[in-house]
Symmetry: C2
Subunit: 239 residues, 2 copies
């Protein structure tokens, strides 16, 4: 099968924006473990971040949310745009061709997948026990990988991941949490223990947390406060 530019199936759709893609760094956190969701392309050893394209008729943020939903089954998840990657040499097309060849697909020389792509990076942080990882059309696995034992990634995906990790160290998170949970997350991401009092003082001095009600547990006098991050950066999702 040779793919041309005719819109006969997904890989030939001409309603996609021609040179823009999305890459999602999906962090999974549970019981002090931090994992990342990766695809492995069919019949290859190429690992990749979940990604996708943007339809002409679709907002950028919606396209990112769709990638997240298709790969995890989760929707209405906090997604944060963190950087747009536009080095001209960021992709090696021979890998695309190899991936598709494994499936008996040949791309015509003018196929849109062979365009230069600029990719907008998003990250999400979810509880990995709640996701149902689902491969995309080009992959045979979609699995959680420990952040300490990641395989090498295709294209510039190692850089995208590194940038997302740097951004995540800055304070952007989804729902409500206690100071202890936040500390624990940061310790996992940073790979080292932090002094609790010091951490709390710093993070509060940033004035980016909103303190909510106390978390109701059995021992009322020991109940910790819940916090959430002020969702400033989320404004473009809310339109």
């Amino acid at each position: 099968m040779t793919l041309n530019q005719d819109p006969t199936d997904f890989w030939e759709r001409t309603t996609l924006l021609p040179g823009i893609s999305i890459d999602c760094v999906i962090f999974g956190f549970h019981d002090n473990q931090l994992k990342i969701l990766l695809l492995k392309y069919k019949g290859t050893n190429f690992f990749a971040l979940p990604g996708g394209f943007i339809d002409q008729d679709e907002n950028l943020e919606n396209a990112a949310a769709k990638v997240l939903e298709e790969r995890t089954g989760l929707r209405d998840i906090y997604l944060e745009q963190f950087y747009t990657f536009g080095q001209k040499s960021r992709r090696d097309d021979s890998k695309h061709i190899e991936v598709l060849n494994k499936q008996g697909i040949t791309l015509a020389p003018n196929h849109f997948l062979l365009n230069r792509f600029i990719s907008v990076g998003y990250f999400a942080l979810i509880d990995f026990t709640k996701a149902i990882p689902t491969p995309d059309k080009l992959s045979d696995t979609c699995e959680w990988h420990d952040v300490e034992k990641l395989p090498d990634l295709i294209f510039d995906h190692n850089e995208i991941l590194k940038k997302a990790l740097e951004t995540l160290r800055f304070p952007l998170l989804p729902e409500t949490f206690t100071m202890g949970e936040l500390l624990s997350l940061y310790e996992t991401i940073l790979g080292r223990k932090l002094l609790r009092a010091n951490f709390q003082r710093k993070i509060l001095s940033l004035e980016i947390l909103e303190r909510l009600d106390k978390k109701m547990t059995g021992a009322a006098n020991k109940a910790p406060y819940l916090y959430r991050f002020a969702k400033k950066s989320n404004q473009y999702l809310e339109k």
Copy 2:
């Protein structure tokens, strides 16, 4: 004159990436005044942020640096990517058509300027006394505007500017500076006085400043330290 897709001049170049643009928020700071560089399209009252396109053979960051250089005469300036704008309704093509009509130019219906564009936002902060503002082909003025007295901007440029201002409140700046100068900048951006001791404590607790040598002035014992921001986010420019 009707523009088609033939590459006979700039507006017909087919070597540009088809649906991606750059918008630059260029802040100018001097003597406690904060200004923003704006274009006014020829024969209209449409004000716009300086912008540009990306050549197939050009890194995204280089395209942004080129916009900055062409509009200010300055090069090797610290440019920070802050957000990518991808709402499908972000541009109103009738304004493009009006701008070009004023110059006797008609766009063919398939002209690339009528594509949907996703725009990558960059900001820079420069000393406005050092720039030589220069209009682009579509504009008759390129001028500094006080941040307190800005005109309404075309397309989603008001939003782009707002997002840049939010980002600038976070600590990303170019060269070296004293704590007093940084405080002064923040006060100007925020439009209110800050408590110096408090400001210094907060900004240092973020661990994003590098302290350099003392600034050499006449009164050596009173010389303030110079600081600079760690250039983490600049890594993609340095390749």
